[in-house]
Symmetry: C2
Amino acid sequence: MKLYTYFRSSAAYRVRIALNLKGLGYDAVPVHLLKDGGQQRQEEYRRINPSGLVPAFQDERITLTQSMAIVEYLDERFPAVPLMPQDAPGRARVRELAQIIACDIHPLNNLRVLRYLVHELKISEEQKNDWIRHWIREGLAGLESHLARDPAAGPFCHGSAPTIADCFLVPQVFNAQRFEIDISVYPNIARIYALCIDLPAFAAAHPSRQPDAE
Amino acid sequence: MKLYTYFRSSAAYRVRIALNLKGLGYDAVPVHLLKDGGQQRQEEYRRINPSGLVPAFQDERITLTQSMAIVEYLDERFPAVPLMPQDAPGRARVRELAQIIACDIHPLNNLRVLRYLVHELKISEEQKNDWIRHWIREGLAGLESHLARDPAAGPFCHGSAPTIADCFLVPQVFNAQRFEIDISVYPNIARIYALCIDLPAFAAAHPSRQPDAE
């Protein structure tokens, strides 16, 4: 199995956590998002992912992009350490939590979006940081309320073992901290993050531990 | 079953298509995104969805937000007319296509984002339209390449019956057309859209056919 990854990519980080939680070995193929005008946008990588985004995953059956699709595929193909609940409402809830991050927060702070804001719309560094923080705060506040009201939230986002939702939460909080957002105002998020971050599968997926880390 | 919906919301439109494809009746509860400073942001609606976004879905078991999570839940709960393939790579591929729309295109052109661009970053009407078109074109180009290279693409996004991917494609193309984007440059997308748009389940979900349409 191959994972096209960039150490700091939040979406690649999610997939690395899932692979580690399942104890699956893989070849990490680094794609540098800043070098050569962005290796992810070049012809060679677009043969893997025509959308020109990281991550991409390959096994002998499929070439797959989109972190959520990859993680659910891994969970179906390697069910031994399940990352999804056994019941339909539980699965729905885990997908909902992951999608709050994957649809409501992360797409707005992606590198290509920040580039457009700076180069096309000529916003200042301060405006850029305000933009990033605004969408992270807005999204985390929603996520926190979802976690706070749900009796199914346990030590992890859903129950007593990590699920896909935790694979998504940790990289987003890591990202928030890079932008100096105070996570303690989101007590459930802060608690789950603190629990996950030191677990071996999460720790080994951390950007600083990747072969392409700078 | 209740669907909190707004006629023009792309994410609500996806869920309406899925409900119709499955032949499921539901109560449509309109949430007006522009009236009263946005009914979706008010206390009353936030009790349903703390994130303050449309759609939200309720049955006797769950209150659920995020269109992708809702549609997969419907598919699991009412398997009679499946909207997902039977095989894991097929399911992965359908999720990937839906997520190209749900993660790479739609979040950038959401009402709240356009509002921020106009009110906080003071961009002009022309800049706003350029922004919208840029992300739609970028996303649809990626989606088109994915469809073009995949032998599993049939008359629909995946095979010979509608899947979740088609539920996502149609509202996004509808949206692109509102911004006068020429869809014919994406031949697979144009072909699938043309096939779907007149099918009864898709037609009945169209924004113009909703009780809250203006």
